[in-house]
Every structure is written in structure tokens, then in C-alpha cells.
């Protein structure tokens, strides 16, 4: 039996990684609902965010005598997000052109090709080693994790404290902020509503005077910028490397499906659940080697039980009750 602090500690870690899966899942959802394309380059946007921030804040261009850029972090994060948005824009434009002529597998291959291209360019530019990105807050009170002890009566006298890294707090807080911003964007702004209109009914939206191709390309840029933000916030914890996006992207994809593909709040909840399950599953003896498989097992199980995801399952349960 694992001790309570262990469980709590893993819960904290799971919440942070789950937040990233949630953002990536939302990115998938944005693109999928406007184009019906599953974008396998989604993880690469996360990588671009992480490596972009690393390049602008710490990287010394592989020359020891060069001191590096050391730009302020908010500027670096914004620029990295913009870089990813531009890449997303290009990808969206390319896909937009092929949307009518190409079959579904051909579109998938375009996104996979783009992902390989981006990974290749990243490994050329920044090398293949994992690099630590700068934490968001490094000054005095933030340099050490918050530790708190659970009541001794509960966990025994020599239990160690639960530690929460400041960066983990940043990840969760920024994720919440981004989700709030997205909700506002899609419900309150004209552009957001137009995007929703396009995903609800393409032709209808076009008839109402919405420029569909602008919205589709915009959806790619938005989704890319989101992914880059996620990458910039998680990189100080997981380190950044050129192919970090593959697994993060695919697990986010799993979350998007578990959340019911095309369902925003479903993706967020599924992403968080996936992260937490994954880090709790590690505690089961013998399972720690198979941590990366957890998300895919959940994906398979979900497809067998309820192919339209968690929301459909809950609805079914409600109807049955």
C-alpha cells in the first residue's frame, strides 16, 4: 500500500502534465471541428514553444563565447507563440488548399509530413539533446518548491512532505487562464463565434458572409499558439527536445477522443484525467515501465466501451438511471 503523501505527490505531477494534455487536446479539437482533419503536427507546436523560449532566453547558439540572448521571459514566450502561430498558419494554408482534392489519409499524411519536417528542422537548429528551459519564476521565494506536511496523526511520524514546484503551479494556473480566455473568445467575440459557425456548418457560415478559409487558417494559428504556450510552460519541468512533441501530441489526441472529439470541455476534463491516471498508475508495482502506454490503453478501452467519448458515456449513464 502506498502512503498518502506519495499519492498526493503523484496527483500534483499528474495535474501539471494533465494540464498540458488538456491544452493539446483543445488544440486538436479546434482544428478538427473546423476542418475534420486530425492534425498530427499538434505536438510539434508544443515543441516549438519549448525550444523557442529556450532559444530566446538561454541558448548560446552552440558557441561557448557567445553569451546568449537572455531576453525577458514574457517577450520570449510571446515570440515563441507567434513563431508557432506562423508555422500553424502555413500548415493551415497548405491543408486548406488540399482539403477538397485530397482523401482523409492524404490529409493525415500531410500533417505527419509537416511534423517530421518540423522535428528535422528543430534537430538541425537546436541539436538533439534535451535542454532545460528557464523556469518562469526563479527569484528568492520561488526557487524552492512549496513543501507541506500532512497531519502526523494521519500519515505517521516520519512521512516526508508533499512538494509542489512553482512551475507546476504556473502550468495549472496558465492552463486555467487559457481555457477561460478561449471560452470568452468563442462565446463573446465576433471572430470566435464565426469560427464556431464554420465548424457547425461550413456552407451555412459561408452564406452568412464568413470567410471560411480565413477562419480555418485562423484556427490553425490559434491552435498552434496555444500549443506553444503549453510547451513554454512545461519545458522547465520536462526539459525540451526536438521530438518531445510526438508523445505529448498523441496523448493529447487520446484525450481529445476520450473527451468526445470536437467537445471542448470534454477535452479539458479528459486531458486532466489522463494526466492524473497516468501518474497514479506509475505507483502500481510493475506498471512504472509502461507509463507511456496508459493513455493508449485508456484510449482503446474508451473506444470499445463508448466510441464517442466520456460525455456520451455519462449521457448514457444518466439515461439509464
Amino acid at each position: 500500500m502506498e502512503s498518502l503523501p506519495d499519492i498526493l505527490q503523484n496527483l500534483v505531477t499528474g495535474l501539471a502534465t494533465g494540464s498540458i494534455y488538456a491544452i493539446v487536446a483543445v488544440g486538436f479539437t479546434i482544428i478538427f471541428s473546423s476542418t475534420q482533419v486530425v492534425n498530427f503536427a499538434q505536438g510539434e507546436f508544443v515543441m516549438l514553444g519549448a525550444m523557442g523560449v529556450y532559444m530566446l532566453t538561454t541558448w548560446n547558439w552552440r558557441h561557448p563565447e557567445f553569451a546568449g540572448l537572455h531576453w525577458p521571459l514574457p517577450v520570449a514566450v510571446l515570440l515563441a507563440a507567434m513563431l508557432a502561430a506562423v508555422v500553424g498558419l502555413l500548415l493551415g494554408w497548405v491543408l486548406m488548399r488540399s482539403l477538397k482534392s485530397a482523401s482523409a489519409p492524404a490529409l493525415i499524411i500531410i500533417t505527419i509530413g509537416a511534423s517530421m519536417l518540423l522535428q528535422g528542422v528543430a534537430s538541425q537548429l537546436w541539436g538533439k539533446d534535451a535542454v532545460p528551459a528557464r523556469a518562469f519564476t526563479t527569484a528568492m521565494p520561488f526557487d524552492a518548491p512549496i513543501r507541506f506536511h500532512l497531519p502526523r496523526a494521519l500519515v505517521g511520524p516520519d512521512a516526508y512532505p508533499v512538494a509542489i514546484e512553482w512551475q507546476q503551479l504556473w502550468v495549472v494556473a496558465l492552463t486555467l487562464l487559457m481555457m477561460l480566455g478561449l471560452a470568452l473568445f468563442f462565446n463573446r467575440t465576433l471572430v470566435g463565434k464565426a469560427m464556431r459557425a464554420v465548424s457547425a456548418n461550413r456552407h451555412g457560415a459561408q452564406l452568412m458572409g464568413i470567410n471560411v478559409s480565413h477562419m480555418v487558417v485562423g484556427a490553425f494559428a490559434l491552435s498552434a499558439a496555444l500549443g506553444a504556450f503549453a510547451g513554454a510552460t512545461i519545458a522547465p519541468i520536462t526539459y525540451g527536445y526536438y521530438n518531445m512533441g510526438t508523445l505529448i501530441g498523441l496523448k493529447g489526441f487520446a484525450a481529445a477522443i476520450v473527451g468526445g472529439l470536437g467537445n471542448f470541455s470534454g477535452s479539458v476534463v479528459a486531458g486532466l484525467l489522463l494526466g492524473i491516471t497516468e501518474s497514479l498508475a506509475v505507483m502500481i508495482p510493475g506498471l512504472s515501465d509502461y507509463k507511456d502506454a496508459v493513455a493508449f490503453v485508456i484510449l482503446l478501452a474508451m473506444l470499445v466501451i463508448s466510441p464517442n467519448g466520456l460525455p456520451a458515456l455519462l449521457r448514457r449513464g444518466k439515461e439509464a438511471a
Partner: protein, 359 residues
């Protein structure tokens, strides 16, 4: 359909193919002196590449049945390939077994096992419309890959399994590149014949019908789910067969030959070749295998190019899919047709005299 004309063209192709197959090793060994020597490196490499192409052809032809005719995508097809290879390897050379089977027994066991797994995955996912199979196979592919990497006392972990015995049928041991060349090419041709027969049978017609419209097919009495599952299981079984051949050919397997990238590569072969055509799958398998070998070759010649493989491959994928979305065979044909039409004024089609058909 004029059956006689069709058969003669098939026969023609088969003959051309057989002659080409029989002659290739001779061409490779065109020098008599060369024949006396042990196989030169370059020659055995050529035969090896041709064998690889044949193995990939088996995989692509199977996947093409699923993608081109049932309209479903498998994004984890390398997992079935890997299941076949690993079943063969574990049963014939696994460190966890005290007693090993002969390759000839392990091969069918791998195929049956893989087909059973495919049945389990396919049944729930193919009942529904949409690309659920793609998502399920994607997940399944990763699970298989991770298990291959982590279950080290059985699968050998990242370093994989070595000393897999050569395939032997009776007294005939497949121990040279030439023998493997013949074996793999004959297997590939048999797979193509099998696939062509499936396409032209009741199953194939049902598949094409449901690809066109599932509702219409169901109305006409086609058991949509049954046929989709059937073709998925066939594709998986063919992949397992290819995997088993691969394991016994190279005698060494590791998880990286069966990862997500290989699954993608297989889908690419089918799409680049052109879906819904047996020859398209062959063209795709050949092009992509050669492209990979060529990129690897370039990398060895120019060290600066070594890490550019991914960039080049990704770029080629995007460009081909954007400009020839229907694949190389169909796409090139269409391009040529358009080109010729532009140069020659198109004659105004006259209504053909109505044929009197006897009912």
C-alpha cells in the same frame, strides 16, 4: 466486363512479372566471375533491398485492401507486422523459452495470433461509421511498441532479439540472399494474386459497395460490419506474415522496426502508390523503400545530410500529397492526360450507337 480481354492482360502481366523475377538475380550477377566469388557486398545489398521491397509489398497490399476498398485507415499496422515478427522470434529464439519451435510452426502461430488480436480490436470499432479504427489502431500500435521495448525478459527490450533461425522447409534452408529473394518475391506475388482475387470476388464487390455508400450497401443486404472486420483481419494476417518473413530473413529484430513511424510509412506507401489498386501498393512500397535506402545512402556519403533524412522525407510527403493527392500512379496518369489534352484538341465525343444487349 470482357472476361477474355481481362484474363489475357492479367496473364500478360503475370508472365512479364515471372520473367522479370527469374531474370533479376541473373542481371545482378551478370558477371560470370562474380558468380564464382562469394556474394559481393553490393550485390547482396541489392538483393536485400529487393527482398525488403517484396516484404513491404505484402504489407502495403494488405493495408491497401483496408484503405482502398473498405475505406478504413490503420495507423498501427506496424504493430501487426511486429506481432508476427516477435511471435516468430520469441517462439524460435526467445530467451524466456526453454524449448524453441521450428520457424515453420512459428509462422502460422504468429499469423493466427495476430488475426485474433485484429478481430478483437476490429469488432467494436468497425461496427460504427467513421474513423474509429484509425484511432484504435493508433493506440494499439503504441501499446505494442511500448510492450516490445519494456518487457525485456521476453522481448529483449530495446536491443531486441538476435539469433533468430533461418526458415527451413524440409531440407531446403533459406540461408542466402538469392534464396530469400525468390521466397519473398514469390510471397509478394502470391499476396497480390490473393488480393486481386478478393477484390474481384463477392467480398470485393461488397467492399466497394460499402465504400461508396454504407447505407446503400446495407440496403442491398451487405453485412457492412462483417466485411469491414473481415478485410481488417486479412490485412493484419498479411502483416503478420510479412513480419515473420522479415524476422527469419534478417535474424535480428528490435522495436524500432515496428514503431509508429513504420505504421505511417505503410500508410504513405498505400497513399503514394494510389489507393484501391494492387499495382499502386506495389509502386508505393517500391518508391518509399527505395527513397529510404537512397536517403540513408546520401547520409553515408555526405555526413552533413545524415540528420536531414527527416527533413527530406517530411518535405517529400507534404509536396507529393499536396500536388498529387491521388498518389503517384493515378496522379501521374492524370497529369499526363491533362498535358496531352492541352496539346491535342479534344474531339467532340459522338454519342455511341446503342449496343443491343441480349438479356
Amino acid at each position: 466486363m470482357k472476361r477474355s480481354a481481362f484474363f489475357s492482360s492479367t496473364l500478360c502481366w503475370a508472365l512479364v512479372g515471372l520473367v522479370a523475377i527469374a531474370v533479376t538475380p541473373l542481371l545482378v550477377h551478370y558477371d560470370i566471375e562474380e558468380l564464382k566469388k562469394p556474394l559481393l557486398e553490393r550485390q547482396s545489398y541489392l538483393l536485400h533491398v529487393l527482398s525488403l521491397i517484396s516484404i513491404y509489398t505484402i504489407l502495403a497490399v494488405g493495408l491497401n485492401l483496408l484503405m482502398g476498398y473498405a475505406g478504413q485507415v490503420s495507423l498501427g499496422h506496424a504493430a501487426f507486422y511486429g506481432l508476427g515478427a516477435y511471435t516468430s522470434a520469441i517462439l524460435t529464439a526467445g530467451p524466456s523459452l526453454a524449448q524453441h519451435l521450428s520457424p515453420l510452426l512459428a509462422l502460422p502461430i504468429g499469423i493466427v495470433l495476430t488475426a485474433a488480436v485484429a478481430l478483437l480490436i476490429g469488432m467494436p470499432c468497425l461496427r460504427l461509421r467513421g474513423h474509429y479504427l484509425a484511432m484504435a489502431t493508433l493506440g494499439f500500435g503504441w501499446i505494442v511498441y511500448i510492450v516490445m521495448r519494456q518487457w525485456s525478459n521476453v522481448t529483449g527490450g530495446i536491443s531486441g532479439l538476435t539469433d533468430i533461425p533461418k526458415l527451413a522447409v524440409g531440407g531446403l534452408v533459406f540461408d542466402s540472399d538469392v534464396k530469400w529473394f525468390y521466397l519473398t518475391v514469390v510471397s509478394a506475388v502470391l499476396t497480390m494474386v490473393l488480393s486481386a482475387n478478393i477484390i474481384r470476388s463477392r467480398v470485393g464487390r461488397a467492399l466497394r459497395a460499402l465504400h461508396g455508400s454504407e447505407n446503400a450497401a446495407a440496403t442491398l443486404g451487405v453485412n457492412v460490419a462483417y466485411y469491414k472486420v473481415l478485410v481488417f483481419v486479412i490485412a493484419a494476417a498479411l502483416a503478420a506474415f510479412a513480419g515473420s518473413l522479415y524476422a527469419h530473413k534478417v535474424n535480428f529484430i528490435s522495436p524500432n522496426s515496428f514503431g509508429f513511424l513504420i505504421s505511417v510509412e505503410l500508410v504513405v506507401m498505400v497513399v503514394v502508390g494510389g489507393m484501391a489498386s494492387v499495382w499502386g501498393a506495389v509502386v508505393g512500397a517500391t518508391t518509399i523503400t527505395l527513397l529510404f535506402e537512397w536517403l540513408a545512402d546520401l547520409g553515408q556519403e555526405y555526413p552533413a545530410f545524415q540528420d536531414m533524412n527527416g527533413v527530406a522525407y517530411g518535405l517529400i510527403l507534404v509536396v507529393v500529397m499536396v500536388f498529387l493527392p491521388a498518389g503517384l500512379t493515378v496522379g501521374t496518369r492524370d497529369l499526363l492526360l491533362r498535358w496531352f489534352r492541352r496539346r491535342r484538341p479534344v474531339p467532340v465525343p459522338q454519342p455511341a450507337p446503342r449496343e443491343v444487349t441480349r438479356v
